[in-house]
């Protein structure tokens, strides 16, 4: 419900570039309210990496909702779209996205595996998608909170910025799987650690409210799932650009 309010402030919506990513990809048009791609928290490490090293290394860590099933799923999932959009928006900058996506891993397990990833990737930014596996397995919210805390500490100790990505909005399973408690914890954890939260749950909720996507649809077709991931990837790229204060000039030239 908290997120339903977002539709009321949809007039704040900005248009996220709908340029097609990859020839085979249907161009997805999706309005993203401004509040989802802006943050009070700065991605200072990202800004520094781009200005000083002309490169941006990002590690994406997550579970099954950070990928798509089916052939070539990774190619159509949001991390790939985020990478493409960033490359477009940041010409002359070497953008590298490493994805570490393992289905069914809880936040505690992901937090335990962070060190290896951080040592190996040396990212300026970690995009950490969490919460769904914990909600599915009924992990105690307090334990979830503690795992998030330790993971966020580890990432920040390694000198990287963090964007937390919360759950998908899944209206069909809402009566079976209540993610709100976990979403609230992610909100507070991000606030406490000065991390950025990408509110995927709220954004997809807004899309459902606005009729951008029919998230109730029962389908075996991959088209909608791919479009949703394309939109999420681009929204994440916008959030990174905004929170790292990469100037608007650059955005303009990128089109």
């Amino acid at each position: 419900m908290k997120r339903g309010m977002r539709s009321f402030i949809a007039f704040l919506a900005v248009f996220v570039t709908a340029a097609a990513v990859g020839a085979e990809e249907p161009a997805a048009v999706c309005d993203v309210p401004d509040s989802f791609v802006s943050s009070d928290t700065d991605l200072a490490r990202v800004t520094a990496a781009i200005k000083e090293q002309k490169r941006l290394d990002i590690s994406v860590i997550g579970t099954a909702s950070s990928m798509l099933p089916g052939p070539n799923g990774a190619h159509f999932a949001y991390p790939a779209h985020m990478e493409d959009a960033l490359k477009r928006l940041l010409p002359g900058i070497e953008v590298k996205v490493n994805t570490h996506v393992t289905p069914r891993t809880t936040t505690a397990e992901m937090a335990a595996g962070l060190k290896t990833i951080l040592d190996q990737d040396k990212p300026a930014l970690v995009v950490w998608q969490a919460g769904t596996a914990d909600a599915l397995q009924g992990i105690e919210p307090d334990d979830f909170h503690a795992s998030l805390d330790s993971g966020l500490d580890a990432i920040q100790d390694a000198g990287a910025d963090v964007i937390l990505v919360n759950m998908q909005f899944s209206p069909r399973t809402e009566s079976l799987l209540d993610v709100s408690a976990y979403a609230d914890i992610m909100h507070w954890a991000a606030q406490q650690h000065g991390a950025v939260l990408f509110d995927r749950l709220g954004l997809m909720h807004a899309w459902a409210d606005q009729g951008t996507f029919d998230l109730y649809a029962a389908t075996k077709d991959y088209a909608m799932a791919r479009k949703v991931h394309a939109c999420i990837g681009r929204a994440l790229a916008s959030l990174i650009i905004n929170a790292a204060h990469l100037d608007g000039e650059k955005l303009q030239t990128a089109h």
């Binding site: 099933p69 069914r104 105690e140 809402e174 998230l215 109730y216 029962a218 389908t219 075996k220």
Partner: protein
């Protein structure tokens, strides 16, 4: 002895007037029915996630929600009904009635669970979308129906929104000794309850759930509200009445409600969030529903203080026809609660299966409440009919109708 028994059994039919001068009030307080009825409507509305009408429910205006009202009033009425039974018929008889009530609620819970299983089996059979490959794992438990159903019977597996009745069952199971203590040493009972609440927080006491985790409503924490309600019913309310009239209490309650409202507002209007100082957020969050956060409990107390002050027991409004539907729903709380859970399932199902527009949501909300009112009226009618028929009178008295309202 015979006279005593007869007296007790007629009085078991609740609203019977005038008992032989006990220390606490014997007349049914219609305010309880009214607010419990309203709470049942709010719980129904809150259980439909996609619902614009939810904007009117109290959880959007402060920390506590309808659950607090429901549990408090349930404690109050349980003490009201069984407290009298315990005084007049003793510990064994009243305990037996309390346990029978717990059994009835258990059966109602399992009935709801069956309906829920039917719904998810349908979703599992019909819904597919590659976007939600991860979320669909929630249906995995259907692959192990033996374990799932067994865990549900043990009250360990509880689907979303089906947590209140198991809490109520556990609270009733432990109510007989608590009630005895409340009747003999009310202050000690209340202190004991508060101590258990503190211990639950300190040592993370809770009951285990299946497949993982703990109960959504921690009985060790929520018992405080139930026992507090019971304590109020057994004379505590009179003891507090001086405090309730104090302008200082009024001012504190109003200030706290304004504070809670302001904080709640920052959840919905994100830009306002930056006006909440960090130290306050750190201290305040998370506002834990599972363990009945002190902030929630205080919010309920503030609401209750205002209510008691501005809605006196003899408030003429309680006779207004417009409030009778809510009062009637409150008088059949178990049935109407279950119906509300079912209607919320059904409403949510219609919204996700067909159309989810605001008009449909409003229609579903209104129709749902009308069905609840109609059912409550029907139940009142049944009760009136059974009460009138001479052959059933004795039976009705034995059939624990008062318990039916606890």
């Amino acid at each position: 002895m015979a006279a005593n028994l007869r007296l007790a059994s007629t009085e078991a039919v609740a609203r019977a007037p005038a008992a032989p001068a006990p220390a606490f009030s014997t007349e049914r307080d219609l305010r309880l029915d009214l607010f419990r009825g309203v709470a049942l409507w709010l719980i129904f509305l809150d259980h439909i996630p996609q619902n614009v009408v939810n904007w009117f429910t109290i959880r959007n205006y402060g920390f506590s929600d309808a659950t607090e009202i429901f549990i408090f009033i349930s404690g109050y009425t349980a003490a009201f009904v069984y407290g009298r039974a315990m005084r007049e018929r003793g510990f064994v008889v009243s305990s037996a009635r309390i346990l029978r009530r717990a059994w009835q609620i258990y059966v109602a819970h399992i009935f709801l669970f069956t309906i829920f299983m039917a719904e998810i089996a349908y979703v599992a059979a019909t819904f597919d979308n590659p976007l939600y490959a991860e979320e669909m794992n929630i249906l995995d438990f259907l692959k192990q129906p033996d374990i799932t159903i067994f865990q549900a019977l043990l009250l360990k597996f509880k689907p979303v929104n089906m947590d209140v009745l198991p809490l109520y069952i556990v609270l009733l199971l432990f109510f007989p000794p608590m009630l005895l203590l409340l009747l003999r040493q009310p202050a000690l009972a209340l202190i004991g309850s508060a101590a258990l609440y503190v211990l639950a927080w300190k040592f993370d006491l809770n009951l285990p759930a299946y497949p993982n985790g703990v109960w959504f409503f921690n009985p060790f924490a929520w018992q405080l509200l139930f026992v507090f309600g019971a304590w109020c019913a057994l004379g505590g309310a009179q003891r507090l009445s001086g405090l309730m009239r104090s302008p200082v209490v009024l001012a504190l309650a109003v200030l706290y409600l304004i504070f809670a409202f302001a904080i709640t507002l920052t959840w919905y209007v994100e830009p306002l969030g930056r006006y909440v100082p960090n130290w306050l957020s750190e201290w305040m969050y998370p506002i834990d529903k599972t363990n009945l956060d002190v902030l929630r409990f205080a919010h309920f107390l503030a609401l209750a203080a205002l209510t008691v002050r501005f809605v006196p027991r003899d408030w003429p409004g309680l006779k207004w026809p417009v409030l009778q539907p809510a009062i009637r729903c409150g008088q059949h709380s178990l049935e109407i609660f279950c119906l509300g859970v079912f209607l919320a399932f059904a409403g949510q199902f219609i919204i996700s299966e067909y159309s989810g527009g605001p008009l449909v949501q409003i229609a579903i909300s209104v129709i749902g409440i009308l069905i609840m009112i109609a059912t409550a009226s029907l139940l009142s009618w049944y009760k009136a009919v059974e009460g009138r028929s001479p052959s059933s009178r004795a039976k009705a008295a034995n059939a624990d109708l008062a318990g039916g309202e606890a």
